[in-house]
Every structure is written in C-alpha cells, then in structure tokens.
C-alpha cells in the first residue's frame, strides 16, 4: 500500500478531485462525513454532493464497495416480499424505481429478466396466494400465479416436481460493482473527498465531532454512520446501543458462462418454515449464480466458504436445475448480511448529535440504496443541515460490464479510434487493454487486483488467471509505479 496521499488528476468533467489512500488526512473540517463507502454510504455521499458543503466519505478498506456490497446476489428487487408497512418496504419500492432510471442513465447494466418463485412441494404451492397478496400490500401489482405447465414451458431445464410458481415480472439483475462505483465517482467528481484505508476507531463528540481514524483525526459537524456490519459499533462510540449486528453469511457458487443458456429468469425460492432457500439467477456478466446459504456467525470478517455450505448449495441446485451441476464453476464467494434480529432497517436520527445511523440494511440495501440516501438526507435536514443551494449533479457514464450490452471488443468504431480496445488481455471475460487502462486512470481507481476485477471483469472468468493473471497483474503494477 502506498504511504503517500494521492490526489487524483484533474478529470475532463470536474475540477480537481480528492481520493486519498494513505498518509495523514488533510486537516480540513467537513460539514458532513459519511463513514462507510459501501453501496449505501456511497449513495448517501452522492446525494449530499448536490449541496454546497464540504463532504467526506471514508472507508476502512482500500476501495469503495469492498464489504457486503461486493458480495450479494445482485438482484434489483421490486420489494414484493417485504414486510408490508415497514420502512424497508417503502425504501425498496422507491429504490427500485430510482436505481432503475439511474442505471439506464449511467450505463449500469440491468437485465429485466423477471423472477419465478418456484413451488416444489404442497406447502410451497399453498404459500403462493399469500405471497401474491403480500405483493399487493407492498404496492406491487404485477405478480400472479403461474401453473406448472407454464413454468415448465418458460424454464425447460427445471428439475422434476414443479407444482407452480409466483411470477414476478419486475425483478431484475444488476451489476452491484458498477452501482457503488458510479455513486462514488459522481460524488467525488462533485467535490466529495474520498478517504480510503481510513478506519474510524474512536469518536469524540462535540460541536464539531472528532473522529480518530487509522490515518489521524478527522473533524466533522454532521456524521452519517453507514458502516454496514460495524454500524452497531460506531453507534456505541456515540453512546447508542439500539441494535446489534449479527453477520448472516451467504455463500454463493458462480457457474461458467456456458451455463447461461440453461436459465431465463431469476428462480427465487418460496420462503417457508425451513428458511429462505436458495436461488438460481443469471448475472449481468452472463454467468449463473447459485445461493446463498444463511448462516448466523459471530465473526464479522468470516467471508470464507465451507465444504458443508458448498455441498448444500450443490444439493439444492441439483433439484432446481440439474444440468447446472455439470457446468464448470467459475467462482465461489460469500457475503455477510447485517442482520439485527429485527425485520426492518434500523435507520435512526439523533438530531442533538447531528448524527444519523443507517443500520440493519439487511438483504435489500443494493436495491434501496438511492431511496435510503434520500431518506437520510431528509433526516439530516430535519436535524438542521442547511439544504440551500442544491444543484443537479453532472451525469456519469460508467464503462459497461454487462453481457447484454455492447462491449468494447466488438465495437468496430471504438477500436478504429483506439486499437487498445481491440487488444484482449483477459480472454475468458474479453477484457481489453483499453478498458484496463481506463479503470486504472479513473476518478476512483482500484486499490487491488480484485478492485480492478470489479471495474473490468479482468481475471474474473473461468480460468481465474491461468491465461491472463500475470499479464493483468503486470498492467496493474505498472500503473501504480
């Protein structure tokens, strides 16, 4: 890790941008600081960036979106199955609308595949009408029950024993990496200071709060806690003990792109007495995902996979889509949901402290992120944050990582203008030198090879670096020299 503060170069669309990754923090006092640059914190920073204020976004990690936000099932939910009347229900519904249109404007890949909640036994079939009802109570009216023959016709590779399904046409898959990165990029270009490798360790509350961080003190008038799994710990630093986060691990298996033809919809499980079950879903990168497990843990860092977890997923996957198990596995990963024991988000305003906690953003935070951000900014305004002078943000256009949209390696005009987009480096994912170069020079550059993968897909394919690993690493290291 470089030990010097890095201020990124001036970009075409903005004045000097501030992204630091090491060294002492600049001594500046901020009006608002957001702790946690996951999808939620980045969305909040972006929303705040409209205001003529000094805003900081800090994260303990070397990259934005490097916690739970990078490891989920990447579904843009309609909110049909939320707890009716909950804050989560409302924010997921609004978030779905906001993010759908933001994604279209910003080049975040979304595929509106629709979901089928497939019933495999009588209990599950009996649950479908109740779910259809609940969808309506959540303001979602397009769900309907599909008979077994229809389900079979629409998903010919399903295993035997399908009894019917709830058809939820509004569910989509999205790129979680580009979403967080787009928020952060737009925020930084609008003047938000992003400080990475910056862990908040203690807080001295006051007129101006002083956060003791791993990179020295940071002074701020308002504070937003979007620390995900650690939101309870930050809360305690300010004297609140409203909730405790229990990490609930979800392991996932990603299958080769050659499996993509086996499935057309997002195949969601019917929630039942025996837990939530696992889903099979295409990804926007053209893979097929199987998971997640649901295991309550003590360790907030245990994002490892286990033999039992993978065996369970394979067993469930074999029932849902038998042919999937014959395909090669591309990746295995796990994410930790921030469970609080409560069936709703724990978003709390503490106006006296000019502080908002954004906790318990459980398994829908990607979808709800923009609505959460708008809600949080309202809470800050209620607590006295001046809202005057808000302006529109400069739109952002992100590099496309989605298979359903044109990729540089097929773009004759682009390659004619710049042959680097015709030089494929990562062969499995068809990532070109041009794309890698762009990511390395972007407003928010990657801090590691994994960060580069989340920006380009390089090394993310079936060979996991057998062919291109060393070449991609060489490009990354060269750019950092």
């Amino acid at each position: 890790m470089s030990a010097t503060a890095v201020t990124a170069a001036v970009t075409a669309t903005a004045a000097a941008t501030t992204v630091t990754t090491g060294g002492a923090l600049p001594g500046e006092e901020y009006d608002v600081t957001v702790v946690g640059a996951g999808v939620v914190g980045s969305a909040i920073a972006r929303e705040l960036a409209r205001l003529p204020l000094r805003i900081a976004l800090v994260d303990a990690s070397d990259d934005v979106g490097n916690g739970t936000s990078k490891a989920n099932t990447a579904i843009l939910h309609t909110g049909f199955d939320a707890v009716p009347g909950s804050l989560e229900s409302r924010l997921v519904r609004e978030g779905h609308r906001l993010l759908s249109s933001y994604a279209a404007d910003s080049g975040i890949p979304v595929e509106p595949l629709g979901a089928l909640l497939v019933a495999w036994d009588e209990e599950q079939r009996a649950a479908l009408p109740g779910l259809a009802d609940k969808a309506v109570r959540n303001g979602y009216r397009a769900a309907r029950i599909a008979p077994a023959e229809e389900v079979r016709a629409r998903e010919p590779e399903l295993g035997p024993g399908v009894l019917g399904a709830l058809d939820v046409p509004g569910e989509s898959v999205i790129c979680p990496w580009t979403t967080t990165l787009a928020y952060a990029t737009q925020a930084v270009r609008a003047g938000v200071a992003l400080h990475l490798n910056c862990r908040v360790q203690h807080i001295t509350p006051g007129d101006v709060h002083t956060l003791a961080t791993s990179r020295g003190p940071l002074r701020t008038r308002y504070l937003v806690n979007a620390a995900g799994l650690y939101a309870d710990e930050i809360d305690r630093l300010l004297g609140h003990a409203d909730f405790t986060v229990t990490p609930r691990r979800g392991q996932l298996i990603v299958f080769d792109e050659l499996a993509r033809g086996l499935v057309r919809h997002i195949l969601l499980p019917v929630p039942g007495a025996l837990g939530k079950g696992v889903l099979v879903s295409p990804t926007v990168y053209g893979n097929v995902m199987l998971g997640p497990t649901a295991e309550d843990l003590d360790d907030k860092t245990d994002t490892g996979s286990t033999a039992e977890g993978l065996a369970l997923l394979r067993e469930k996957g074999r029932r849902i889509l038998p042919a999937l198990l014959d395909e090669e596995v591309t990746a295995v990963y796990a994410g930790l949901r921030a469970a609080t024991g409560d069936e709703d988000y724990a978003i709390r305003a503490h106006p006296a402290q000019r502080y908002v906690t954004v906790g318990g953003i459980r398994s829908t935070g990607l979808t709800a992120s923009m609505a959460i951000a708008a809600h949080v900014v309202e809470l800050l305004a209620d607590g006295g944050l001046p809202m005057a002078g808000a302006r529109d943000l400069e739109p952002v256009r992100m590099p496309n990582l989605g298979e359903a949209f044109p990729r540089p390696y097929r773009d004759a005009e682009l390659i004619a203008r710049d042959p680097e987009y015709g030089r494929i480096v990562c062969h499995c994912e068809r990532v070109t030198r041009g794309e890698i170069r762009d990511a390395l020079a972007a407003t928010v550059p990657p801090g590691s090879l994994d960060g580069l993968r989340r920006r380009t897909r390089a090394r993310g394919g079936r060979c996991q670096g057998f062919h291109c690993g060393a070449a991609v690493r060489a490009l990354f290291e060269e750019a950092r020299r």
Binding site: R410, I415, R423, R430, Q464, A470, A471, R473, A474
Partner: protein
C-alpha cells in the same frame, strides 16, 4: 482490412498442435492457411515453460520457448499466415468465425476450420476448495507466466497441489523465483516426489486461510490426521480441462469423458468442416503428442478441401471406470482404417494401473483384449493399437473400453 474474408483453412490457436498442422498444410499447398492466436506471441503454452523436455522423441530436448520458436518458424516458413493478438470470439455461421484484434472485428470464413485452442488447469474455485479468498492462489499457467514472462514476485513459502508431472515444473519455477516449497500435496496414493520437498499423498486440501494474503492451507490425510501448512502461496496444478468454449458455442458435440470435442480418427468433429486437434481434445499431453496430432490432421483437412464427404456418425466409443476417457472417441461409418495406421488411441485412467488388460466390447460382444505390460500412472495416457476397430459393427451400440 476487409470485415469479411474467406480463407482455405482457418486454424484457431497457434500452439504446437495448430502450428504443426498449419506448417503441414501450407507445405502441401492447401492455399491460404491462417492461424489466429489471441496472445501477443505465437507458440502456445511452451512459450512460458522455461525448462527442457520439449520435442523428441529424438533428443536433445529443447526448452519450451526454443520449441515454440521453432514451431512458429516452421509454420511461417511453410507459408502459413500466423496472426497474433487476434481472438476468435464466436461464430457467425457454420464455418465463419468472428474475431477481434487491434485492427478491429472481422468475420473470417474457412473452407475448413480447426480448433486448436489448448487446455487449462482447473483453478481453485472450479475445484470447490473452501476457505477465504486471499492473494497468492495460482495455477501453474499463471505461475510460469508470472515468473518467466514478467519476473513477478510469487511469495516466500509455497504449497503445490497435484502430482502430475506439471507439479514438478511448478516446484522448479517456484524455487527459481526464490520461494521455498513446503510440500507437494496430492489426493492420490502415489506421486513422483521432488528431491527436498515432502510429498503428502492421500491428502486433500480442506481449506485456504488468510485475509489479504494467504496464510496457510489446511490439509487432511485419509487416515484422519490433519494440520495446517503455513504458506503465502499455493499453486493448483494439473486437473486439466480443454478450452472448449468456442467448440460449444459452435454446437460441436463434446465427449463426456474428455470434455473436449468428440472427434473421429481423422479429427473430424460433429460439425461438417470443423476439426479439432491437440490439448483441446483431452487436456494435457506432451507437446510432441499435440504436434503429432496436428500434423496428422493435415491429410483429412486436405481431403475435406478436395470435397471428401463428411462421414455420418457411428456408434459412440466410451470407457468404463476407472478409465476416464479415450480419444479419438467418435466412430464414423467412413473411418478409413488407414487413417488410423500408426495413430494410437489415447486412453486415460483415473487410477494407477499395473499390467492392465484392456478390453473393447460392443453389445456384450468382446471385440478385442490385450495386456499392456508396465505401469501407467493417471498422469499418462496408455496408447492403444487401433488394429481392432474394423471389428466394430457400425450399426451397433456403443463400444465400451474397460479393464479385463
């Protein structure tokens, strides 16, 4: 450059197999023979195998890079066009490939298309090895390129997983890069030890540990003993899978044993006009085997160019456990026995064999049976004389190879 072009033979992959074929075809006057290679340099895997042991059977052996250079030179001097930095990305028609390179996308049609795309090692994820996802987890392919092509650092203490010959090369490469090899771990009951490195047989890797960087590998012996090997690097070797993406996207039938295109003795796939050669057919064999297959495919490719019909499929050729695969594995009703003259079938076992008796049967009828003196490890193919295939009933059921 034209967006749409036609050539006589389009070869995908400039490794030993594709290059040997291109050289032979160009020499024979096959017309415009074009080889596409997605890497910046042609030569295939030997480019980054900086050890001797390539070529033969006449010694002295060459190093991988020298062997690769020789193969490229032979193809180019024979008149084949070897284009590097060009990837075949998909199909635009039965014999038309879409390609991409710095000169832009193209659509190239061949009168014959040959897939010589090679093979890769299964990475950690494909082997479903649980644990964390730290840096320091490699395959031999990545290790060799990191060390030999880029001079990158690969850590101080390494564990090598696998006991195929490639594991030895991984050990050597790690040592050359200054790393200590803590152990070679294999699930198999036997393996070739490398002097100075403990060989842990009948041992599985249960879990990878460490955040950020690998800190250790948890292992378990089949007798129940377990422990953690402290290391910052682990190399997963062997466990090959053909790079069959292009084949599958082109609708080419795969063999369930090899996971590569199913081919007859003349390297003909299920798609008329599409041939496949080399490691793309079955995972890793010595480079000379891949090159010999490439050279042998020249005659059937030339026959195709001069209008020979594509044969109808005959019975399947399959194997029974512990055998894993056989190649070729497609019997066609036109398979001319002279195609096979001198060209053995390659047969792979999942378990070590000693003096195996191999049988071939069809519909319960024994076609052939032969004892093969000597020991055959799972990392090597047994070569079967093909003389018995004339006994196959072309209208009958699958032909099954087993151990008698």
């Amino acid at each position: 450059m034209n967006r749409d072009r036609t050539v006589d033979v389009l070869v995908v992959g400039a490794g030993p197999a594709g290059l040997a074929l291109a050289a032979r075809l160009a020499t024979a006057g096959a017309g415009h023979v074009e080889v596409l290679e997605r890497e910046e340099d042609a030569g295939g895997v030997p480019r980054h195998c900086h050890h001797g042991g390539f070529g033969g059977p006449v010694r002295p052996w060459l190093t991988g890079p020298a062997y690769a250079r020789r193969a490229v030179r032979a193809a180019v001097e024979a008149g084949a066009a070897v284009r590097t930095g060009v990837t075949a990305t998909g199909w635009a028609g039965a014999l038309s490939l879409e390609t991409t390179g710095p000169a832009g996308p193209e659509r190239i049609t061949g009168r014959a298309v040959v897939l010589a795309t090679g093979a890769r090692e299964r990475p950690r994820s494909a082997r479903l090895v649980p644990g964390s996802r730290p840096a320091g987890v490699l395959t031999t392919g990545e290790l060799q390129q990191a060390v030999h092509l880029y001079g990158q650092d690969v850590g101080r203490r390494a564990v090598v997983v696998g006991a195929e010959p490639v594991a030895r090369h991984a050990v050597r490469t790690l040592r050359r890069a200054g790393a200590e090899v803590v152990a070679v771990v294999t699930e198999r009951s036997r393996g070739t030890a490398v002097p100075g490195v403990p060989l842990l047989t009948a041992t599985t890797v249960g879990e990878l540990r460490g955040r950020g960087r690998l800190s250790g590998v948890a292992v378990r012996h089949e007798d129940g003993r377990s422990g953690v090997l402290a290391c910052d690097t682990v190399v997963f070797t062997g466990d090959w899978i053909p790079d069959h993406e292009l084949a599958r996207r082109g609708g080419v039938t795969l063999d369930p044993g090899t996971r590569g295109p199913s081919v007859d003795a003349s390297f003909r796939t299920s798609v008329p006009g599409v041939f496949a050669v080399g490691n793309a057919l079955h995972g890793v064999e010595p480079a000379a085997t891949a090159a010999a297959a490439g050279a042998a495919a020249a005659a059937p490719v030339l026959a195709r160019l001069s209008g020979a019909p594509w044969p109808e499929p005959g019975p399947r050729l399959t194997v029974r456990a512990p055998l894993l695969w056989v190649a070729p594995n497609r019997l066609t009703n036109l398979t001319d026995l002279t195609d096979l003259a001198g060209r053995p079938l390659l047969l792979r076992s999942g378990e070590p064999l000693t003096n195996p008796v191999v049988t071939a049967a069809q519909d319960g009828r024994l076609l052939w049976r032969r004892r093969h003196p000597g020991r055959v490890p799972p990392s090597r193919s047994l070569r079967l004389a093909p003389g018995w295939t004339y006994r196959v009933d072309r209208a009958g059921g699958p032909v099954v190879l087993g151990l008698g």
